[in-house]
Amino acid sequence: MTTLWILFLTALVTTFSGFFAPPRTIKALTLVGMAATLVSLAFGWGETVVAYGGMYTFDAFAQGITLVMVVGAMIALLADCDYHKRLGWPAFEYYPLVAFAVLGGHVMASTPHLGVMIVGLEILSIPLYALAASRRSERGFEASLKYFLLGAVAAAFFLYGIALYFGATGGFVLGAQGSGLVWAAAVMMLMAGLAFKAALVPFHWWTPDVYQGSPSPVTLFMATAVKAAAFAAFARVVVSVGLGGPAFYALAALVLLTVFWGNLVAMVQGEAKRMLAYSSVAHAGYIAVALFGPNPAPALGYYLLAYALSTGLAFAVLAQLDEGEGVPLRSLAGLWGRSPLLGLGWTVALLSLAGLPPLVGFWGKYMVFLEAARGGQYLIVALALFAAAIAAYYYLRLLGAALFSKAEKAEPVALSGSAPVGIALATVLVVLLGVLPGLGYGLFTAASAIIR
């Protein structure tokens, strides 16, 4: 309960103290709240907290997901200094909305109850619709509106799925087994509704436009925290219904379409944020590969952490270069010379996203594929590995754009405020957790039972 209360009070206090404090103070307060959440997570790690008659079940799996979300939010908040300094500080509500989104994700991740899940999903989504348009530009409005409309459709799918689930099992709590066609329809609808949020192909159409049009720090938050929360719910639904019959084929189709479509389309993009948006679609596919294993929770949680750190770092670097109109590849040129820290962060992030050995991204992929292989799904593992090999092409292209091309005018990028702290911290974590993989994976081994 402490974690829930800390997140709720953080959001509430920052909302109201914004009336008499400047945005930067609110940002500091939000960061303090996130740090307090980390402390409360550390103290209660591994202990399951159950409240409200099981509607709030804060088990080891939910703790892992909450950790990923808080880490994502902290990188997003630390790295946004210069971005806002260049393009104008947003209204102070920006920071409470981030805190509310984390609260919503936490609620959504720590429940087996579908009714709580949809309310958590909305508490997570509504702030994001506003955050996507927090910079007043055509692109921002487009991103916000698309996200809102498709998010509403996804929520409608999910709600319909809940109604059918109730019809098939007579309850709202995941874990009940039903049978028949209505049950199958309910499972499909629930999976489709959550696949929208997790950006699995063919429910990913909003992702590139929204990621590109939103302010870079918001994109960072979406790619890390929102994905983690969506996958928490997705994993609970899939594990509780079991992968027999139509659910298996549906998930296999989703995964294979996602890894191939995401990676192939990412290759032909000419803008870094859009490329990383497609990369985030592809990574959703790898995360879902874990669900084919007998005990998916540790691998899934660990991959989410690895992915959140790597992609968070990549977007944090892009946030320093973004002038509000996205980051075309040529503006990455000569990044090492312009700012060694950004160059290092960018290199580490992309190598980790590509899955090269000494970095955390490799271990994430390794655990996920190992898990699916344990479940005996060698064909899916092989195809996903093949897609990962394709992906190396555009990660290296992004890297090459920063390393091997000369900038027209090599003006150094000045970092100030908390931005270098955030980037350095994320870089160190990506390398450290890669060198010592047991350190990161050990956090998630307790999360064995998703559904009790």
Binding site: Y94, L97, V107, V119, I123, Y129, G170, L181
Partner: protein, 185 residues
């Protein structure tokens, strides 16, 4: 399927279609009111009286009136709303919707009444027994919905704000500045 179900279903679909296809925003809003009222009747027929009244008072009443106010305040509402740039998508969408409908209809073909529903005694869905349920078993969700409404309010406020907030200047201060400027001339 009784005659009531059939009539309600046809009315619901027809009013929903009217709401999304009518060109005049006010007409579309009124079609939506019709949809809400039919839905309220369905709730009454399902012995969910409280829900039915809420549907009429809150949705058909308060929410729609706000909606119509906004539509009428906006000048653009007098003209046609929306230009459909994806006209060629319409038949595709219609075909997909038909497939979706047929799949769900097939899924529903063998469904009988759900057992646990018979056990729940809500006395016709009146506020008394419903309140005990909401503030007992479902308290967590009620609290969360309070949070949700608060978030939605904050988000709406953010969305309607201009990009930068100007510092508030008291009228006396601006008056003094103007006078000082005149003296300076």
């Amino acid at each position: 399927m009784s005659a009531f179900d059939l009539i309600a279903g046809v009315l619901l679909v027809a009013s929903a279609l009217a709401a999304v296809t009518l060109k005049n925003a006010v007409h579309a809003g009124l079609a939506l009111v019709g949809n809400f009222l039919v839905l309220a009747m369905v709730y009454f027929a399902l012995e969910a009286q409280f829900l039915g009244w809420i549907q009429i008072i809150v949705y058909a009443g308060a929410v729609m009136v706000l909606f119509l106010f906004v539509i009428m305040l906006l000048y653009d509402a007098k003209a046609d709303v929306g230009v459909d740039r994806l006209r060629w998508m319409r038949p595709v969408g219609a075909a997909l919707a038909a497939v979706f409908f047929l799949a769900l209809a097939y899924a529903f073909s063998g469904v009988g009444p759900v057992n646990p529903l018979a056990d729940v005694k809500l006395a016709g869905g009146l506020p008394g027994p419903l309140g005990k349920l909401l503030y007992g078993l479902w308290l967590y969700i009620v609290l969360l919905i309070a949070v949700l409404l608060f978030v939605a309010t904050v988000s709406a406020v953010v969305l309607v704000q201009p990009q930068t907030r100007k510092a508030r200047v008291k009228p006396q201060v601006s008056e003094r500045d103007r006078e000082l400027e005149e003296v300076g001339k």
